[in-house]
C-alpha cells in the first residue's frame, strides 16, 4: 500500500509542478505585450474625441497601482505569491477595483453549462456509436460512420459552428444565431426560461458535439475493434456467451476506462476552441469575457481565465489518475509491484 501512496504523492507533486510551469508560461507570454492597459484606455478615449491632457501623470499613477512599474521578475514573484498562496486572481484592470474573480464568477455558470452539456453528450454519444460501429465492423453502417468520423473529427469546432449558423440560423431560420436566452424572457426558475435556454444552447452545443462525438467514435471504434480481435473474445464466443453479454462484460469495460482518461486529456483541446465558439455565438460566458479583456489589455483577467482553464484540465486529469487505480485492478497491482 505504501507504494500506492508513493504513486499518489508523486502524481500530486507532478500536478503542482506542471501547474507552476504552465502559470509561468502564461505570465511571461502576456507580459510580452507592449504598452499597458491604462495607456490603451486613455488612447481610445482620446480617439473618440475626449481631450486627455496631462496623461503622463495619470498613466504613471495607475501603473504604480497595478504594480506594472516593477521589474518583470518582481511582478512575477508577486503574481506567484498572490495566485498560489492567497488564491487570489488579482484585480481586474478594466473593471478596477473589482477583483477578477467576480467578473469570472458571473460568466462561469454559462460556460460550465455549455461546455458541460456538450462534452458529456458528445462523449456518451461517441462511445455508444463507436462501440456499435466497432461491433458492426465491415458493414455499410460502419463504413458510413467511420468515414464520416474521419472527415469531421479533426475539423475545428468553430468552423462547424459557422456552417451551422449559415445553414440553420440564416438560411433556414430554425435557430437563433446567438445569445444564451431570449431577452424577452426573465431569468428564473421557470419553464419558459429553461426552454429558452435550451433553444439557444442548441447550435453552439451542436458545433462542439458534432466534432467531439465523431472523435470519440473514432477512438472507441479503434479500441472496440482491437478488443474484438483478442483471443479471449474468441474464447467467449466459442463458449457460447450471448453477444450482449460479451459486449457488456468485455468490451464496454475495456473501452470505457481508457476513454475516461481520454476525456480528461481531451479537455485541453476542447477548452481551446471553446472560447471561439462562445464568441461566434455571442454566448455570455468566459469566452466573451476573454475577448473583451484582450481588447482592453486586462492582463489579470486574461491570465485568470487561462489559469482557470489550465487548473480545470489539470485537476480533471489528476482526479482521473487518482481514481484509475481504484477502478482498474491491473493498474493497482502494477503500481504495487512498481
Amino acid at each position: 500500500m505504501a507504494r500506492v501512496a508513493t504513486y499518489y504523492a508523486a502524481r500530486l507533486a507532478n500536478y503542482l509542478v506542471v501547474l507552476l510551469i504552465a502559470f509561468t508560461i502564461v505570465f511571461f507570454f502576456l507580459r510580452l505585450i507592449p504598452g499597458d492597459p491604462v495607456e490603451n484606455y486613455l488612447q481610445s478615449l482620446a480617439q473618440q474625441g475626449f481631450r486627455i491632457e496631462g496623461s503622463a501623470q495619470i498613466i504613471a499613477t495607475y501603473r504604480e497601482k497595478f504594480g506594472l512599474d516593477q521589474p518583470l521578475l518582481v511582478q512575477y514573484a508577486a503574481a506567484l505569491e498572490r495566485t498560489f498562496l492567497h488564491l487570489d486572481l488579482g484585480v481586474s484592470l478594466m473593471n478596477y477595483p473589482q477583483p477578477v474573480e467576480s467578473s469570472i464568477m458571473v460568466r462561469l455558470p454559462w460556460s460550465i453549462w455549455l461546455l458541460g452539456v456538450s462534452t458529456v453528450i458528445a462523449w456518451v454519444l461517441g462511445i455508444a456509436a463507436g462501440t456499435v460501429t466497432g461491433w458492426l465492423r465491415g458493414t455499410a453502417f460502419d463504413s458510413v460512420f467511420y468515414n464520416l468520423s474521419i472527415s469531421l473529427a479533426q475539423v475545428p469546432q468553430y468552423l462547424v459552428g459557422l456552417l451551422l449558423v449559415l445553414i440553420l440560423a440564416y438560411a433556414l431560420g430554425l435557430f437563433p444565431a446567438g445569445g444564451a436566452y431570449s431577452a424577452g424572457v426573465a431569468p428564473g426558475l421557470n419553464l419558459e426560461f429553461f426552454g429558452s435556454v435550451l433553444y439557444y444552447t442548441t447550435l453552439p452545443a451542436l458545433s462542439i458535439v458534432i466534432v467531439s462525438a465523431f472523435f470519440w467514435l473514432l477512438t472507441t471504434r479503434a479500441l472496440t475493434v482491437s478488443i474484438l480481435g483478442e483471443d479471449y473474445i474468441l474464447f467467449a464466443e466459442a463458449k457460447g456467451l450471448r453477444r450482449l453479454r460479451i459486449l457488456n462484460r468485455y468490451i464496454l469495460r475495456n473501452t470505457l476506462l481508457p476513454q475516461v482518461t481520454g476525456f480528461a486529456v481531451s479537455l485541453a483541446f476542447i477548452v481551446n476552441g471553446f472560447f471561439l465558439i462562445e464568441w461566434i455565438f455571442r454566448y455570455p460566458g468566459l469566452g466573451s469575457l476573454l475577448v473583451a479583456a484582450v481588447g482592453q489589455r486586462d492582463f489579470n483577467t486574461v491570465q485568470g481565465i487561462i489559469l482557470l482553464s489550465i487548473f480545470t484540465v489539470l485537476t480533471a486529469n489528476l482526479i482521473v489518475d487518482l481514481i484509475y487505480p481504484l477502478i482498474d485492478p491491473r493498474i493497482r497491482t502494477a503500481a504495487e509491484r512498481a
Binding site: 507532478n14 509542478v17 506542471v18 501547474l19 510551469i21 504552465a22 508560461i25 502564461v26 507570454f29 502576456l30 510580452l32 505585450i33 507592449p34 504598452g35 465492423r137 465491415g138 460502419d142 463504413s143 474521419i150 472527415s151 479533426q154 475539423v155 475545428p156 468553430y158 468552423l159 459557422l162 456552417l163 449558423v165 449559415l166 440564416y170 473514432l218 477512438t219 479503434a222 479500441l223 475493434v225 482491437s226 474484438l228 480481435g229 481508457p258 482518461t261 481520454g262 486529456v265 481531451s266 485541453a268 481551446n272 476552441g273 472560447f275 471561439l276 464568441w279 475577448v291 484582450v294 489589455r297 486574461v302 481565465i305 487561462i306 482553464s309 489550465i310 484540465v313 489539470l314 486529469n317
Partner: protein, 307 residues
Amino acid sequence: MTMMADAPGEVAAPVRAGPLWRATTAIWRASPRLKLGLTLLLLLLALSFLEPIITHLRLEGRGPTELGTFPRLASASLQNPLGTDVFGRDLLALLMIGLRFSLMVGLIAGGLATAVAVFVALLGGYSGGRIDYLLNTVTNAILVTPSLPILMAVAAFVPIDLVLLALVLAFFSWPLGARIIRAQVLSLRERPYVEFARVSGFGRFGIMFGEILPNLVPFIIVGFSYAVIGNILAETGLRLIGLGPGDVISLGLLLNWAMTFGALAQGRYLMVLGPTVCLLLIFIALSLINVGIEERFNPRLKGVTGN
C-alpha cells in the same frame, strides 16, 4: 488523440533499420486512406503554388490584390467565379492566395514543431530518469495551456509578422507530437536490436538517430500532421477574430472579411463557403493521413479495420 498517444503497445515488426527513404516509401504504400489524404494535401499545395500562373492568366496580368480591378461586391460570374470583395478584388484569386498562406504557415510551423518534438521525445524517452521527467513535465505543461487565448492576447498588441506567428504557433503545437513519439520510443528502446547496438558500443545519439528514429517515421508523420492541424486551427481562429498581420491574406482572414461585410445576409454565400470548403478539405486530408497511418502501424488495428 488515439491509443497511440498513451499506450506504449507493441509495434508491428519494425522496418529494417536502413535509410529513412525505405521507411518512407513503405509508409506510402501502406494504406489507401493515407494515399488519399496525402494526395489531397499535395493537390491543395500544388493548386496554391500554381496560383500565380493561374491568376496571371485569369486576370490578364493585373495583380490580384490591386484595388479596383473589378466592380465592387459583384456576384459570381464567369469572370469572377466567386464574385468580388468590397475593394473590387477577385475572390477566387484571393482564395488561392489565402490557401497558400494557410498551408504554408501550418506546414512550416508544423515542421518546426515536429523537429522539436522529435528531439525532445527521443532524448527524454531514451534517456529516462530525470531528463525524461523534466522534459515530460514541460511537455504536459504546454499541452494543458490553451494556445488560442494567449495567441489572441499577443496578436492583438504585438505587431505579428510571419516569423513571430510561426514561432508562437510552433511553441504550442510541438507537445502533442512529442507525447506520441515518446510513447513509441519507450517501447522501442527495449527492443533486442537496440540492446544489441548498445552492447556493440554505439553511443546514445547514434542509437537514437540510427536505430530508433527510422522506426519512428510513421509516428513522426502523425505528430507532424497533428501539429499542422493545430497550427492551422489556431491561425485561422486568430484571423477569424480579425487579429494577426492584416496585409497577409489567409483563409481565416477571408472568413473574417466575409463576416464583417455581412456576406451571409446579403446572399453572398460563396464568400463564406469558399474559405470554409478549403479549410474542410485541408483538415480532412490531414485526418485521412492520420487514420491511414494508424490503420497500418497500430498493431491492434492492423488487419481488423475491415475497411
